[in-house]
Structures are given as structure tokens and as C-alpha cells.
């Protein structure tokens, strides 16, 4: 059921792990670095707030959008963030089901990342509205107008998908968190911590009956989360595929998007893993084997995404539809060719280094490659969105898009929106699943004894 090879060094005690991990929130070791990071993140968040105020007072015209490219940064960053979110769920849920227990050291912060990435994605559908104050019209409620939402619209699907995704991720994350909160509670000495962890742990006491029900709920939720992830990003892809615009109207989009999502997500997970590991000296829990495995997964999903690229080209050529061909040619050589080639280069060139074990096991290399992938995927989303819109069917409506200052500020702002709560989370809760690592450690020790 578990990997044969020991992924955790067995020379460590459960007690040690518990104290080490609960210690991070309880006796926070890296105050200064944390504060600096927090400062940086808050600055970005402030930038977002300013941008949003400007946006709501003056209108979406402050962005670079126009007719025909009336969707750009808002939608493409929405897709990007949502994609990043997916890796968290995949790691914790999919790998839980497949019983690959090396996930145990990664799932907690991967899930946390998911939560806040989805939040970042979630604000965009509101921000990009012309009249955001009417966003509630997208929900079915008995209005005095007697008019309802329109459930054939991919946008309507998205609202439900994202909210579901957010809620389920939250539920899953919290379910897994309860026992660790209990552990922290029992380690806490200061009253404040005791009360905080006491309430959030809901009085978990690790009774066998509880563990029994808990495990079932946890595994089943995981079982639900996996198809959910797939469905969510399929829907996001339908947001485009449902339109007849050349370069969007393609059946390969759903898998293409899901893979891309996982790809970018795992990249960001690797970034966080490397960062936390060196920050809090967690090398004993997030080992080089972990990095190695992450590298492999990254490589795999990357290659699958590459296949997506290839197939998209094939698709257009095979269809022979003139507008499709024209869009394809335009991606290669048009005004936005840089996004296409940028995506290809950033996504797939550095990635190849991961064929070497040495690279995979080096934190910094992995970090750099992951950053490159994150950028590459960002470019890809940009490319898919803009290159299709700016030249569609009628030549007379062709027009370019150039992002405005507010496009960028809103985007960088959301990075702040991601970092601030994430840093707070690091400050408050165990960033690595304590009980699951202990469970794994126990199994490994048991195996040692039975040879």
C-alpha cells in the first residue's frame, strides 16, 4: 500500500515530529523573515485594493480590453489561479486514494495553497463584471423581477463550480486538520493558543470510533474531490470551448486545461515545498526524495501538456477549417506569437532538466524550473484567450489588446491576496500533516522490524 522505499528518515521520534511541527505556530521560529515577507505581501494586497476601488468607481474601461478582446487579464488570470489550485487537491486527494504516502509531507500546505489560489481566482468573475454590484443576479432567488439565472451559460456553471470547489476543498482541508489542531492544542501552554486550538480542534480526542468515522469521511471526500477537480477545470475550458471562436471551439480543451492546471499547480507546490523546507528546516520531513518525486510528477504532467499543444496543432490542421488554420498560423507568427513561443519555452525547455536525478533532488534547481513553468502557463492562458479573440471571423473587427497599468496592478495584487492569508496560515496552523507523517513513520519503523 505504501512506497517500498523509506521516504522519511526513520531516525526520528513521533514526539520529535509533533513538537517540531506544533512548535512552528506555537513558538514561531522565523519572525523577521516572516515579517518581511508579510510586509511585501501586504503591499501587494494594498495594490489590489487600490486597483479594485479604481475599477469599481470608473468601470472596466480602465483595463486594456476592447471589442473584440473584451475578455483578457481578468479571465485569463482566473483560469491561471484556478489551475494552480488544482495541484493541491490532486496531491492530497488523488495520492491519498492511490496510497502514495509521500504525499503526507506535502498535502497540508498544498491544500492550503489550493484554498487561497481558488479565492484569488474566485474574485475575478466578480471584478470583471461591468456592473459588479448585481453579481447576486447569478444566483437563483425569488426576485421581484421574476427572472432567474440562465443555466445554459458556462459562466453560470463556473460560479457553481468554483463555489463548490472552494467549499469542498475547505471541508477536506479542515477535516484533515482537526487531529493536528488537537495535537497543537495539547502542546499549547499559553491560554490564547489553548483556546484557539481548543475551539478549532472541536474537542478531538483521537478516540478509535472517531478515527474510524473520520477516516471514512476523509477518504470518501477525497474520492469526491478528484472528479470535482477534473470537472471544475473542464468547465473553465468550456467557458471558451462553448463559444464558436476559432482556437476555442475544440473538444480537446477540457483534458488540455486540466492537465495544464495540474502542471502549473505542481510547479507552485514545488516552489512552496522548497521555500518552507529551507525556512523551517523541515528537511527531515520534506526530504530530497520528496523533491525528486515532485520533479517526476512535474515532468510527467509537463509532457502531457506538451502533448496537448501538439494535438491542438493537429486538430486545426486536420479540421482544415480556414478560420482555425488562420488562428493557428497567427499563434505561430502573429502579433502575439511571443506568448505562444514564450509558453513553449518557459513550459518545456527548462523542464527537460528534470530528466536528471541530480536536478530533481536539488531544491534550488527545482524552484527555478517551477517558477519558469508558472510563468509559462501564465503565458499559455494569455495566448489561448487573446490570440483567439483578437482575430476571429470577421476581418473588419480584428483589433489588438494591450494590458493597461490597472490590468497588471490587479494581477500582482492578487498575488498579495494569495500570500497574505497563506503567511498567516503558516503562522497559525501546522503546515505539515502531523498525524499522517507519524502514521507513515510508524509504518516504516514497523517494516524495518519485520525486515
Amino acid at each position: 500500500m505504501s512506497d517500498r522505499s523509506d521516504i522519511l528518515p526513520t531516525r526520528q521520534s513521533m514526539g520529535g515530529i509533533t513538537d517540531q511541527l506544533t512548535g512552528i505556530p506555537l513558538h514561531f521560529p522565523v519572525e523577521r523573515r516572516w515579517l518581511i515577507a508579510m510586509l511585501f505581501a501586504s503591499a501587494l494586497l494594498l495594490l489590489l485594493m487600490v486597483s479594485v476601488v479604481e475599477l469599481f468607481t470608473r468601470g472596466v474601461g480602465i483595463w486594456g480590453i476592447n471589442i473584440p478582446v473584451n475578455w483578457a487579464f481578468a479571465i485569463h488570470n482566473y483560469v491561471w489561479w484556478l489551475g494552480i489550485g488544482h495541484a493541491g487537491t490532486l496531491i492530497s486527494a488523488l495520492l491519498l486514494l492511490t496510497g502514495s504516502q509521500w504525499r503526507n509531507s506535502l498535502n497540508r500546505f498544498a491544500e492550503t495553497m489550493t484554498l487561497f489560489a481558488v479565492v484569488c481566482a474566485g474574485i475575478y468573475p466578480v471584478l470583471h463584471l461591468g456592473r459588479p454590484w448585481y453579481v447576486y443576479w447569478m444566483f437563483p432567488y425569488p426576485a421581484s423581477m421574476g427572472v432567474w439565472p440562465q443555466f445554459r451559460s458556462p459562466l453560470e456553471w463556473d460560479i457553481w463550480a468554483v463555489l463548490t470547489y472552494l467549499t469542498v476543498s475547505l471541508a477536506f482541508w479542515y477535516t484533515g486538520l482537526i487531529p493536528d489542531l488537537a495535537a497543537a492544542r495539547d502542546r499549547a501552554t499559553r491560554r490564547g493558543w489553548q483556546i484557539f486550538f481548543g475551539i478549532t480542534a472541536l474537542g478531538w480526542r483521537g478516540s478509535t470510533t472517531h478515527w474510524l468515522r473520520w477516516s471514512q469521511a476523509y477518504r470518501l471526500t477525497a474520492g469526491l474531490a478528484v472528479p470535482l477537480v477534473v470537472s471544475v477545470h473542464s468547465e473553465v475550458s468550456l467557458l471558451f470551448a462553448a463559444g464558436q471562436i476559432p482556437g476555442w471551439h475544440s473538444t480537446i480543451f477540457p483534458p488540455y486545461f486540466v492537465l495544464g492546471a495540474a502542471f502549473s499547480g505542481f510547479a507552485v507546490v514545488s516552489i512552496i515545498a522548497v521555500a518552507l523546507r529551507s525556512w523551517f528546516g523541515l528537511q527531515n520531513l520534506v526530504t530530497e526524495d520528496h523533491l525528486d518525486l515532485l520533479g517526476k510528477v512535474l515532468l510527467a504532467t509537463g509532457l502531457m501538456t506538451a502533448y496537448g499543444y501538439v494535438f491542438e496543432v493537429f486538430d486545426a490542421l486536420y479540421s482544415g477549417e480556414e478560420h482555425e488554420l488562420q488562428t493557428l498560423a497567427d499563434r505561430f507568427a502573429g502579433a502575439y506569437a511571443w506568448t505562444y513561443w514564450g509558453a513553449v519555452i518557459f513550459n518545456f525547455i527548462p523542464l527537460q532538466a528534470l530528466w536528471w536525478r541530480l536536478v530533481r533532488r536539488s531544491g534550488w534547481m527545482l524552484l527555478l524550473i517551477s517558477v519558469s513553468v508558472a510563468i509559462g502557463m501564465w503565458l499559455e492562458r494569455y495566448m489561448i484567450l487573446v490570440t483567439s479573440l483578437y482575430r476571429d471571423f470577421l476581418v473588419s473587427s480584428w483589433r489588438q489588446f494591450t494590458p493597461s497599468f490597472w490590468d497588471w496592478s490587479t494581477y500582482f495584487g492578487t498575488i498579495g491576496l494569495f500570500l497574505v492569508p497563506f503567511l498567516i496560515a503558516i503562522r497559525l496552523i501546522p503546515m505539515i500533516s502531523i498525524f499522517e507523517t507519524k502514521e507513515l513513520l510508524h509504518e516504516e519503523k514497523a517494516e524495518e522490524q519485520h525486515g
Binding site: 472596466v60 461591468g130 462553448a242 476581418v395
Partner: protein
């Protein structure tokens, strides 16, 4: 007041035309009423409020999209004494006319509670038959222009009319002394018999006074040419409806101008004579691409200076006596041979026309050819001059007289020589020299600012006056709104100069017509006002060219510089009209600016691209502006467009583009020689269409005669069949008739409260026109074929946009209209992203007019004014459909074909747009959907559009691109 219904004069929805006007908006009864609908009015500044109150009519809702806020109780004011004829909230219609270069453009003015909100052609009028052009459509906005002069002023200080009267009195004293010696009247083009009568009276009083004409758009030049050719003043009229073959030498007779409507109608009539082949052949030789050239099956590209030679060569080919065979290139030779062949053997069925750049030399040969071919009296008719004033001297003469110190008093009538005179004449300097100068005009413009006195004129829609249409049919102009500023008509002021202090506005006009109407005056008068015209065009006369030969203008210098009036602001008089500024120029789609147009070759030679600033030098004078590469332009011809670079046009029109008048020569204003050089700077032009090659798609289609096969309007679909209601609306646009004139776009703007967004937003790609005229090129960029394709909302039956909307803001009506509900829209823009035709427009910002701007009055109260963040698009003029429904339902009868007319359809000069019920097999639109040339734009997408097209004819002859 008497309500009459001329059955012939019944535009859409059985409007009732109103004879005479006892207007309401100046009536306190009204002013009070307004506040009911305008709580905002109270907050206005005093002046703004006064202006506003004067504009606003009685109880109508100037709908603003305010969202679902808590509805509040607002004030409501009834009349004290309601006019018997007034039904609150219903429009009334008046027949009158607006003017272009003095010619009447007959209109039916739609007024809501005393405010004109929309102008349309007068369907009963024999010449224009209800058609309109961009200037006619936009005149209503000019009326509400807040920058118009509101009161008389002296050296810029406002004065009262009483002061003016005193001053005029003293002036007259001085004039009478020496019989008007040194008194000059400078008039813009005018056809008003009343004005002519008053001028004659003036000249009788002051025999030594003289009258001069200033016609910046070239009317005077045309007159000189005619005089030179025929030895007497006259006007020629093209009867295109009767032509099988039309040969034009740089005459853009389908382009903008007073004659456009008549020519467009005639051309399209003959063009549509047969359903299986083009009804006529059009040969065009031109230096600068024009609407006419774009439609020509046989287009020859030749420098402007070649026109006289070409004319003579054609004359020679057709055996005109005295015509030698000048040197022509192969291309020219081929084209002339074909044109000659086409003309031969069609006595009186062909027509040769020549433009200004050809000058008298070309015109003479053309006149001779027409005579040779027996066209005179058939396809080419001559009349005595319709446009006055008769016997007027030129501006050049005036200037030389002033400079010679022979002028002490100058009265400028409704023209702006300080801006629109050829720079060479240096009119500004001349005016400064005149002792006492008076300017009459809508605005205190460049000339008004130079003159001692500026007297504000009433707009045509505020005036009692009269004018002739291009064919000499008279229209009596009646005010459709009482002047809301302290303004007077030309006639009132001339009367003042004649010593009749402060007469009523209509006295002079009545006096004029007293003669022709005779005893039953009142009856005739009312009839004339009701119908909007007086029966009877100018009588035709016969004449033949007198002069044996006219020397072509000397053409030293390597580059031909030609001047053209701007297609949207004309000679500059419309510079302050936002609607016109934002209209894309037909061939460049540039807005808010003029360009210096050159051929691709020339551009390559000076290594410049669109937007680069280039400098044109003519003699001593130079002007610089943005370059535009015009495919299909003659290599050595540079085109400058007049009407821009104004300094006192107003808040909208100031400091846009460059002033081409500055380099215009005084003697040969339309064709001269000069040089071109590239400057370092460049600018981003506000263009609505960036890409012009059709890229091999079959968007705007052509068919060869014999290729056509009857098409079935049925289109397959996977989706369930929706039961349609009794009416199913559809539209067909005939690309063969579209001359790209923008009248439809202007009409749509006026009808649907489409906002003006300004050059910056246009650059950002956010223009709001619901209907765009796509312009495409095919073939060699040096000699391409050009296409116009109007693209409104297609109203797809399986509309991709609708399924994209998450809140049911855009859905489908049982009548097949793709509905857009602004007040439900939350602005996801999904619909636009999914729209394959990209015809939806989005309010990226709040584009509404400021609350206190007077242009509000031009809004159509039956159409919501859209707020920020909502999508909008063509609605098939649903307000007209619903109004027709109500009218029909009240009479409990089905709608008739033609009862609903969309604004674009109503305006189109060539009737290229047909709208109607496709459930009724007998309707015009159904007939066209069965036509052989019928096709569906992007049919392969299966969106099943209700708006479809008729392909354009392609002449059998090959090589039509090169000629």
C-alpha cells in the same frame, strides 16, 4: 392649427404630418412640465438650467438606465392649459428642410414635445424620396450644439439686438451717402429665393454695393467650368436612372455632397433593373479612391493631371470632332477602348461625367462627348443655375478689392472665409483691414472672431426660410422648434439692413411666395408646409458647348496635390458635431481627424506608414498631418482633406487634424502641384477598422452574371424548431447597392441614442456604433477591388451570444429578434466574446452625456440611454416595431409590410437595406431572400442569421481591378 394627413406623405407607423407650428417649447406651459421628468434640472447652474428648460419638452421620459434602485416619488407638473392637439408622450412630425451648400435637403422632423429628436428624408419629395445622408441625419445635433452663438456680440462682448439695430442704422446712413460704394456682401452658397429677392432689393437701395460668393466645397468652381464650357451660367443634372453605361473622370458623383442622394437613388435604380445581371456598367478613372471608384466595375487609376488627356482620348475614340489622340499609357488605352465600346450604339443611354480636378479642359471634351452620344436631354439635363446668388463676384475679387482699399463695409452671410478660404488669398488679413465688418453665423467662428459684429443666426430647424433642392424643387423651411437663444434668421437681418427693423421671422418668406401662390395663398402655404415642398422642378434648357477648346491647367511639379471636402465634416462647417466626427470616413475608417492620403508606392518611396506625420509643400506654404496609405491611389497624387484644423469650431471640433485650406491655391484650388516629405513624428490615428484585406475569406461576396442560382432561405439546425409568432423579422442588405456613405450609421446613432465616445476611446477600440460598415480590399494593394459591407446585429436564430449570458439579459423573441435587455445586463461580456460577428458594443465607461448638457434634447425618449457596464447592440429598432404593434393592435389588425422601417433602412440612399416580415412570402424581404445573389454571412457556423446579404455583381469583363 389644422391636422392633415397627406396619404402620400406617410412614413413609418402612419405618422401625421403637421402643417405650421404653434410651438410649445418656448411656452411657459411647457417649461414647468419638464421638471416632472427632470428632477435633475433643479440642480443645474442657472444658465444650464435655462438652456435645458428651453430645450426640454413636455412629459416624456428621457430614459436613463438607472438600475433597480428604489423608485421614488418625483414631481409632476401638468399644463395650466393643454394645447388641444397635444397628446403627451406621442411624437409629432413636421415637413421642412435642412441645408447643405445652400441646397434644401427635405426632411420630416420628428419632435417629442416640441424638441426635434430625429430627422429623416421626406418620402414625398420627388428628388430625394425620403432618403438621407449623414449631414441631414446629424443636423439635429448641430441644432443643440451648446457652442453656438447665443447673442449678438461686438468685438466679442455680448450686446443686445437693440444695439445692433442702432449700429445698422448708422451704417445705413453712411452707405446711403455714396450709394453703397465700398459695401460688400459675402455669401455662402444659397438657393433661397427670399434671400435672392432681398439681395436684389439691397442692390437696388445701394446700387454700388457688390455681392460675392464663397463656396469652400467647390460649387463656385463648378459654376465657372459650366460657364466656360457653355458660355452661360447653368447647372447640370445627371439622370443616372436612365444610364446603361456611366463613365466618370474623377467625378465622385456617389460621394458626399448636395447631389449624393439624387445620384445614389438614380444609380441604384438603373443598377437594379435586372435580377440576373448588373443594370449598368460603371467606368471610373480617378486619382484618389472614392465611393464611386469602389463601385466601378472598370476602374482606371490615373493621376489627376491626366483627366483632360483622358477626356480628349475618349472623345477621340468616340469620333468627336476636333479631338486628337493624346499620349496614353497601355492601361489608359485599354480602359478608354472598353469605355468607348460600351458607350457606342447606346444613344442617350450613356453618360460621361468629369470632376473638378479635370477642370474646364476635361469638362469641355466631356460635354462634347455627351452631345455626340445624344445624352444631353436624356441622361444629362441642363437647367438655369439653381444656386445663387446670381451674378456674384468671387472671393478672390473681394480680397483684391479690399487690399486695394476699395471696401469699407463687409457683411459676411453664413460662411467662414477666415477659415475656409484658400490660404493663398490670406482672407484673415483682408478682413482685418475692413473698417466695419459684420458676420452672420451659427457660431462666433474664425470669421466671427475677426469681424466687428457677430450676429448669431438661427439654425435651419429654427428658421422661416426657403430653398431649392438640387433639382429646383422648392421647400419652405418652417421652424420645428422656437429659437432657444437670442438668434435671428438671415432674412430678418437682411431686412434690418434694408431698413425694416425687427420684422417677424416669416414675413419675408411669405412675401416671396405671395407672388407665386397668388390669391389662395393660405391654402397653398399650408399645403406647402404640410407636404414639405412646392410642386415643380426647374425647367430644363438645351445648350451646347461654345468654346472650341480650353487649355488644361499647367502642371509643373512632380506631385499632384488634390483637395477633397471631408466626407463627414464637409468643408468644416460640421466640425463641432460629435456624431459626424465619430463617423468612420468611408474609405479609411479614420475618425476625428483628416489624413494626407498617398499611394502605397509613394508611401514606400518616402518610407512612411499610416500615422507618420508628413509635410506637404505648395509654393511657399506648407502643412503637415498624419499620412494614410490609400490602396488604389494614383502614384503621384496626394489627397488633402478639407474641414479640419479648426480653431474656433467649439469644444468638439477644435484642434483636430490639419488645416488643408492653408495650402490651397487661390486660382486653381482643386488641383495643384507640390512636394511631400516625411517628418520624424508619428501619431496613433483613431481608426475603427485596422485590417482591410479580406484575407481570402468570402465575407463580402461577388457573383458573375450567370453564376446566380435561386437560394432557399431555409438553414438547417440541430436545435428544436421554435414556434414563431405571426411576424418574423428579417433583413437583407444588398452589397451591390451599398455606396458606403454611412447614412445608415448616422441614422442609427440618432435613432438609438448611441453615445459619442471620442477619439481616445476609438483608439482603444471602443466605438459604440451598432452598425459598422466593414470595408475590404481584395487583390493587388496597388489596384485593389474595394467592398463595403454594413454589419449590424445578425439576429441569429441559434444565437451563440444568448446561451453565454448567465442572467437572461439577452434572449430571443418569438419574432426572431435577438433581444438585449440593458437593465438586466451585469456586463460579463460573454455574449460579445461568443459573437462571431462582433457586433455587440459595451459601455466600458459611463458614456452618457453630462446631466446638464443640452444635447440631451436630441435623445430619443423611446430608447433607454445605456449606463456604464452594460452591453448594447442593434435591436432592429425594436421601439419602432413595438410602436407599430400598438398601432396595429389598437385597430385589431395584422401589421402591413413596410409598416415597420428601421432607421438604417429609412436612411439608405440606395435602398440597399430591406427589413420586414419573412413569414409573409409576399414581403419585399422574403422576395430578396429568394434572390439569386442571396447569401448568409458565415453560414458554416450554423447561427442562422436573420440579417443576410445579396452578393455584389462582378462585371463580365476581366481585369476590372487594373482597368
Amino acid at each position: 392649427m389644422r391636422r392633415r394627413t397627406g396619404p402620400q406623405a406617410r412614413p413609418a407607423g402612419g405618422q401625421t404630418l403637421w402643417a405650421g407650428i404653434e410651438e410649445l417649447s418656448d411656452d411657459p406651459r411647457f417649461q414647468a412640465y419638464i421638471e416632472a421628468e427632470y428632477p435633475a434640472v433643479q440642480q443645474f447652474s442657472r444658465t444650464a438650467r435655462r438652456e435645458f428648460l428651453k430645450l426640454m419638452g413636455a412629459s416624456f421620459a428621457l430614459a436613463g438606465l438607472t438600475g433597480c434602485e428604489k423608485s421614488s416619488f418625483v414631481g409632476a407638473l401638468p399644463y395650466v392649459d393643454q394645447p388641444a392637439s397635444e397628446t403627451i408622450g406621442l411624437p409629432r412630425y413636421y415637413a421642412t428642410a435642412v441645408l447643405l451648400d445652400g441646397y434644401a435637403q427635405p426632411v420630416i422632423a420628428t419632435t417629442h414635445a416640441g424638441r426635434p429628436t430625429k430627422l429623416d428624408g421626406n418620402p414625398a419629395h420627388p428628388t430625394t424620396q425620403g432618403r438621407s445622408d449623414v449631414f441631414l441625419q446629424s443636423a439635429v445635433l448641430q441644432l443643440y450644439d451648446p457652442d453656438r452663438a447665443a447673442a449678438p456680440s461686438r468685438h466679442g462682448d455680448p450686446v443686445s439686438w437693440a444695439d445692433v439695430e442702432v449700429a445698422v442704422g448708422t451704417l445705413r446712413e453712411g452707405w446711403r451717402a455714396d450709394q453703397g460704394e465700398g459695401v460688400r456682401l459675402l455669401l455662402g452658397p444659397s438657393t433661397s429665393p427670399t434671400l435672392q429677392r432681398q439681395i436684389d432689393a439691397f442692390l437696388k437701395q445701394f446700387p454700388k454695393a457688390r455681392v460675392h460668393l464663397h463656396a469652400p466645397a467647390g460649387l463656385d468652381k463648378r459654376r465657372q467650368i459650366m460657364a466656360a464650357v457653355y458660355g452661360q451660367a447653368m447647372e447640370q443634372h445627371l439622370v443616372l436612372g436612365e444610364c446603361d453605361v456611366i463613365v466618370s473622370l474623377d467625378d465622385d458623383f456617389l460621394g458626399p455632397g448636395p447631389d449624393q442622394l439624387r445620384n445614389a437613388l438614380g444609380w441604384s435604380q438603373s443598377r437594379r433593373r435586372s435580377s440576373d445581371r448588373p443594370g449598368n456598367q460603371l467606368f471610373m478613372a480617378e486619382s484618389v479612391p472614392s465611393a464611386t471608384g469602389a463601385l466601378a466595375g472598370q476602374r482606371l487609376i490615373a493621376d489627376a493631371r491626366r483627366m483632360p488627356a483622358l477626356a480628349e482620348a475618349l472623345a477621340n475614340a468616340l469620333g468627336v470632332a476636333g479631338a486628337s489622340r493624346p499620349e496614353v499609357t497601355d492601361a489608359e488605352g485599354r480602359w478608354i477602348a472598353r469605355a468607348a465600346a460600351a458607350c457606342k450604339g447606346r444613344p442617350g443611354r450613356s453618360l460621361i461625367a468629369s470632376g473638378l480636378s479635370g477642370g474646364g479642359a476635361a469638362a469641355l471634351w466631356v460635354a462634347k462627348i455627351n452631345q455626340q452620344l445624344g445624352n444631353v436631354g436624356q441622361t444629362l439635363k441642363l437647367t438655369a443655375p439653381i444656386s445663387g446668388p446670381a451674378g456674384a463676384g468671387t472671393l478672390a475679387e473681394l480680397v483684391s478689392d479690399i487690399n486695394a482699399g476699395r471696401v469699407h463695409s463687409l457683411v459676411v452671410f453664413d460662411c467662414n472665409p477666415a477659415y475656409s478660404a484658400p490660404g493663398e488669398l490670406d482672407v484673415r488679413d483682408a478682413i482685418k483691414r475692413v473698417r466695419s465688418s459684420v458676420h452672420l453665423g451659427l457660431q462666433r467662428d474664425e470669421t466671427g472672431a475677426l469681424c466687428e459684429w457677430q450676429l448669431p443666426l438661427a439654425h435651419a430647424l429654427e428658421s422661416w426660410s426657403d430653398a431649392y433642392a438640387v433639382d429646383g424643387t422648392a421647400t419652405i423651411l418652417q421652424p420645428v422648434i422656437a429659437p432657444f437663444d437670442n438668434v435671428k434668421t438671415q432674412h430678418q437681418i437682411l431686412a434690418m439692413l434694408l431698413g425694416d427693423i425687427n420684422p417677424a421671422a416669416d414675413v419675408a418668406v411669405r412675401e416671396t411666395w405671395q407672388a407665386s401662390f397668388g390669391d389662395a395663398f393660405e391654402a397653398h402655404w399650408k399645403q406647402a408646409l404640410h407636404d414639405g415642398f412646392v410642386e415643380g422642378a426647374a425647367p430644363f434648357i438645351t445648350a451646347s458647348p461654345v468654346s472650341s477648346t480650353i487649355a488644361p491647367p499647367n502642371t509643373a511639379g512632380d506631385l499632384d496635390i488634390v483637395f477633397r471636402p471631408d466626407p463627414t465634416v464637409w468643408d468644416g462647417q460640421f466640425a463641432n458635431v460629435g456624431w459626424l466626427q465619430e463617423l468612420p470616413k468611408p474609405l479609411t475608417t479614420v475618425t476625428w481627424s483628416n489624413v494626407i492620403a498617398v499611394s502605397p508606392t509613394l508611401a514606400k518611396r518616402i518610407m512612411a506608414v499610416n500615422g507618420d506625420h508628413v509635410e506637404v509643400t505648395v509654393g511657399e506654404r506648407r502643412v503637415s498631418g498624419p499620412l494614410w496609405i490609400m490602396p488604389g491611389q494614383a502614384d503621384n497624387t496626394v489627397a488633402l482633406y478639407l474641414g479640419y484644423g479648426r480653431t474656433r469650431a467649439g469644444r468638439v471640433g477644435n484642434s483636430l487634424g490639419y488645416d488643408a485650406y492653408h495650402v490651397q491655391p487661390g486660382t486653381e484650388p482643386w488641383l495643384t502641384q507640390g512636394s511631400l516629405r516625411k517628418l520624424g513624428t508619428t501619431e496613433d490615428l483613431p481608426v475603427t477598422q485596422l485590417h482591410h484585406r479580406m484575407e481570402g475569406f468570402d465575407l463580402a461576396r461577388e457573383v458573375k452574371p450567370g453564376q446566380v442560382e435561386p437560394s432557399s432561405p431555409e438553414q438547417a439546425s440541430l436545435y428544436p424548431a421554435w414556434t414563431s409568432s405571426r411576424n418574423a423579422w428579417g433583413m437583407v442588405i444588398d452589397l451591390d447597392s451599398c455606396i458606403g456613405c454611412n447614412a445608415c450609421v448616422a441614422a442609427c446613432t440618432a435613432e438609438n441614442n448611441v453615445p459619442v465616445v471620442g477619439p481616445e476611446q476609438v483608439k482603444a477600440g471602443r466605438e459604440m456604433h451598432w452598425l459598422r460598415i466593414a470595408r475590404y480590399y481584395t487583390g493587388d494593394i496597388a489596384a485593389p477591388r474595394s467592398f463595403f459591407q454594413p454589419v449590424p446585429c445578425m439576429h441569429c436564430e441559434d444565437a451563440p451570444c444568448e446561451m453565454g449570458c448567465p442572467v437572461h439579459a439577452t434572449t430571443h423573441s418569438p419574432e426572431g429578434v435577438n433581444q438585449m435587455v440593458y437593465n438586466r445586463c451585469i456586463g460579463t461580456r460573454t455574449c460579445s466574446s461568443y459573437c462571431p460577428y462582433k457586433v455587440r458594443r459595451f459601455n466600458f465607461f459611463d458614456y452618457r452625456l453630462p446631466a446638464d448638457s443640452s444635447e440631451h434634447a436630441a435623445h430619443n425618449p423611446d430608447v433607454t440611454v445605456r449606463s456604464r457596464g452594460v452591453m448594447e447592440k442593434c435591436t432592429y429598432c425594436t421601439q419602432r416595431i413595438e410602436a407599430a404593434h400598438v398601432a396595429a393592435d389598437k385597430e385589431n389588425r395584422p401589421l402591413r409590410d413596410g409598416e415597420v422601417i428601421t432607421a438604417c433602412q429609412q436612411a439608405c440612399p440606395t435602398r440597399a437595406i430591406v427589413f420586414g416580415d419573412i413569414n409573409d412570402p409576399g414581403s419585399e424581404v422574403s422576395r430578396l431572400k429568394r434572390d439569386g445573389r442571396h447569401y448568409v454571412l458565415l453560414e458554416e457556423l450554423g447561427t442562422r442569421p436573420r440579417t443576410t446579404y445579396l452578393a455584389r455583381w462582378r462585371d463580365e469583363e476581366k481585369g476590372s481591378g487594373q482597368g
